[in-house]
Amino acid sequence: MFAYIIRKLVYNIPVYLAIVLLVMILLRQRDPVAGLLGKNADAKDYAAKKQELGLNRPFLIQYGDLLRSIFTFQFDEESWTQPGVTVGEKLVEAVPRSLALTVPALVLTSLISIVVAMISAFNRGRFLDKLLVFLAVLGMSISFLVYIIFGQYFGAYQLSQWLGRPVFSIHGYEPGLVNWAYYMLLPVLISVIVSMGYDTRFYRAVMVEETQRDYITTARAKGATRGKVMFVHMLRNAMIPIITRIMITLPFLVTGSILLEQFFGIPGMGYVLLSAIRNNDFPVVETFTAVFAGLFILSIIATDILYALFDPRVRLQ
C-alpha cells in the first residue's frame, strides 16, 4: 500500500509539472502590467513594473520559482491586485468560506439523493420510480443561473417579505456557526437542488445494478426483509461507486461555486479566483491552480486506497 502511494505520487509528478506549465503559459497570453498600472503610466513605469513583478525574467526561471514555492509550501508571494496580501493568506481566508458552502451542500445532496435513489431503485419501473426519474431530469434541464436568480429573488427576498423578516440572507457573509444558517443555507439549498438530479440518477443506476445481482435475490430468498436488503446488503455493496463519486468531487469543494459566491456575496475561492483571472492576478491563479491540482491528484490516490479498503476484490498493485 505504502509503495503504491509513493509510486502513484512519483507517477503524477510529470502531470503536476505539466499542469503548472499549462496554466502559466495560458495566463501569459495576456499582459497584466498595463492593467495594474492604470492609464497614466509611461513606458518607464511600465518597464519598472514589469521588473517588479518579475515578468521580464526568462520563462523557465519563473516556472522554476513557482514550482519551488509550491513544493516548499511558501505561498508568500503578494497578490498583484491586492498589495500587501500574500497568496497564502488569500487562500486561507477564502477556502473556509467556500467549504462552508460546498461541504454541507455535498453532504446534503449525497444523503438525499442516495435515499431518493434507493426508493427509486426499489420501486423500479413503477410509477414512483418514473416520477422521481422524470423530476431528476427536469431539474437537470434548467440552467444553474436561473436557479440562482430565482432562488435569490423568491427564496431570500420574497420569503422575507412574506414573513416580515429576513429568513435567508440575500447577500453577504459572516463567519461563525451561529451565522451559518442565515447566510449559507439558501445557497446550499440551491446547490442541492441543482446537483440532486445528477446524483440521484447516478445512484439510482448503481442501485439498480445492485438489485439485479444474485446476492440480493439470495438475501430475499433467505427471507431478509425488504428494508434490510435495501439498507444492509444493497447499500453496502453500492458503497464503492458512491464513495468514488464523492471522492472525485472532494477537490472541487475547494473551488467553491463561482456563480453562487458572486450572487450571494460570499468571498470564497470561486469569487477570488474569478476576480484574479479577470484582473490578471497571476500569483493567485497559479498558486490556486497548483494547490487544487495537488488536492485533485491526492484525492484520486485516496479513492484508490478507499477502494481497496471497502472492496475485498480490489487489490492495489
Binding site: 509513493i6 509510486r7 498493485q317
Partner: protein
C-alpha cells in the same frame, strides 16, 4: 457432402511418420506480477513452464488440465497471440518467433484459431458475410470475383444456411455462432488450427454436433489441430494424442487409445477418476484429490503436483521429475512411475 469427402480422404495414413507440422521447444511463458515502489516485476506466474512437444501433420493433439493450468496460454503462445518468454515454436520448420511481424501476419493464414466463447468471438457489428469476407480479402485467398462463392462454400461446409449470410451474430444460436467461428478459421485454408475449448461454452447437445463437424472437417481438409479442453472425454473422443498439463507443466503425454488403461501419472488418473465414465469396468477406481493447488506465483520446488499427490515421496518435494519417454509416444513426468 461430408460423406463424400470422408470417402476421398479415408486412405490409411502412410506407414512412416510424416514430418512434424508443429514443433514446440522449451516454451516458457511467464506473466509478470508488478509491485513495489517503482512498479517493478516482483514475481512471475509460470503459466507455461518449459514445454516441448510436437504434432505431426494431420494429427490432433489434445491439451487437458484443470482451469488455470496454462493450457489456453500454451495455445495462444503457439499461435503467438501471446509472446512467449522463451522457447521456440516451429511451424513446418519456420521459427515463428524470429520472423518479422509483417511476415508473421502472412504466415498467419496457415494457422488459425477457434475460440472458446462464441458470444465474444464474433464482432457484434458485422454480419457473417462481412466477417468472412474481411479475412478472405486480407489474405487474397481467392480472386476478387470468387469471394462470394468462397463464402458460400465455407458456409455450406460448416453447415450454415446461405440465407444467414446477412445475419448479425446476435441472431444466431451459440452453436451456429461457433460454426461461424469455424468458418472464419477455415476461410484462409489453414493447415493448422488451434481450438481453444471450442465446445465448452455450448450446450451438451450442441457440443456433439460441433465436435462432429470438426472431426469431419479435419478428415476432409487434413487439418492439424491443437485441441485445448478441460474435458477428458472430449479429448479422448476427438484427439490422436494428448498432453496433460498441471501448473504449466506437462505431466503426461500419451496417445488417446484406451486412456484408462494407459494413464500412468497420478494426476491423469485423478482426472480420469473425476470423470463419470459409462464403462462399468472402471467404476471401482475413485481417487479424490486432496490438498491445495499451489499458488502459481510460488510453485513447489519439486514436482508441481506434490501438494496433492497421493503417492508422493520425499524425492518429489526436492526434485522436479523429468518427462521420461515410456515408448510409443507415451511420456510421463513422475518419479514413482517406473520405466517399463
Amino acid at each position: 457432402m461430408s460423406n463424400q469427402s470422408a470417402a476421398t480422404q479415408s486412405s490409411p495414413p502412410p506407414a512412416e511418420a510424416p514430418a512434424p507440422m508443429v514443433r514446440v521447444q522449451n516454451l516458457v511463458k511467464h506473466f509478470p506480477k508488478r509491485g513495489g515502489i517503482l512498479n517493478q516485476v516482483i514475481a512471475k506466474v509460470h503459466a507455461v513452464n518449459d514445454v516441448s512437444f510436437q504434432i505431426r501433420k494431420g494429427q490432433t493433439m489434445g491439451v487437458v488440465g484443470e482451469s488455470g493450468c496454462g493450457k489456453s496460454t500454451l495455445g495462444k503462445c503457439v499461435i503467438r497471440l501471446h509472446e512467449p518468454t522463451s522457447g521456440k515454436v516451429f511451424i513446418e520448420g519456420t521459427d515463428i518467433g524470429s520472423i518479422s511481424s509483417h511476415a508473421l501476419r502472412k504466415i498467419r493464414s496457415r494457422m488459425q484459431m477457434i475460440f472458446q466463447d462464441p458470444n465474444s468471438s464474433l464482432n457484434p457489428r458485422m454480419t457473417v458475410e462481412a466477417t468472412l469476407r474481411e479475412v478472405i480479402k486480407l489474405h487474397q485467398v481467392v480472386p476478387a470475383g470468387e469471394v462470394d462463392a468462397k463464402i458460400n462454400t465455407l458456409m455450406t461446409k460448416v453447415g450454415l444456411r446461405l440465407d444467414d449470410r446477412k445475419k448479425y451474430p446476435h441472431e444466431f444460436s451459440g452453436g451456429q455462432k461457433q460454426r461461424v467461428g469455424i468458418a472464419r478459421a477455415l476461410a484462409v485454408n489453414p493447415e493448422f488450427i488451434i481450438a481453444d475449448e471450442p465446445v465448452s461454452a455450448l450446450d451438451v447437445s450442441i457440443q456433439a454436433q460441433v465436435l462432429n463437424l470438426l472431426m469431419d472437417l479435419k478428415e476432409e481438409l487434413g487439418l492439424t489441430i491443437l485441441f485445448v479442453s478441460h474435458d477428458l472425454k472430449v479429448i479422448d473422443h476427438f484427439c490422436d494424442s494428448m498432453l496433460v498439463m498441471y501448473l504449466g507443466n506437462i505431466m503426461e503425454e500419451m496417445p488417446c487409445e484406451d486412456i484408462h488403461a494407459h494413464a500412468k501419472h497420478p494426476y491423469t488418473r485423478a482426472l480420469l477418476a473425476s470423470n463419470p465414465v459409462m464403462d462399468p469396468d472402471h467404476r471401482a477406481e475413485l481417487t479424490v484429490l486432496e490438498g491445495e493447488v499451489p499458488s502459481p506465483y510460488d510453485p513447489p520446488a519439486g514436482c508441481p503436483f506434490v501438494t496433492r499427490c497421493p503417492i508422493k515421496t520425499a524425492r518429489c518435494e526436492q526434485e522436479n521429475p523429468p518427462l521420461l519417454d515410456h515408448g510409443n509416444g507415451h511420456r510421463v513426468a513422475c518419479w514413482e512411475v517406473k520405466l517399463q
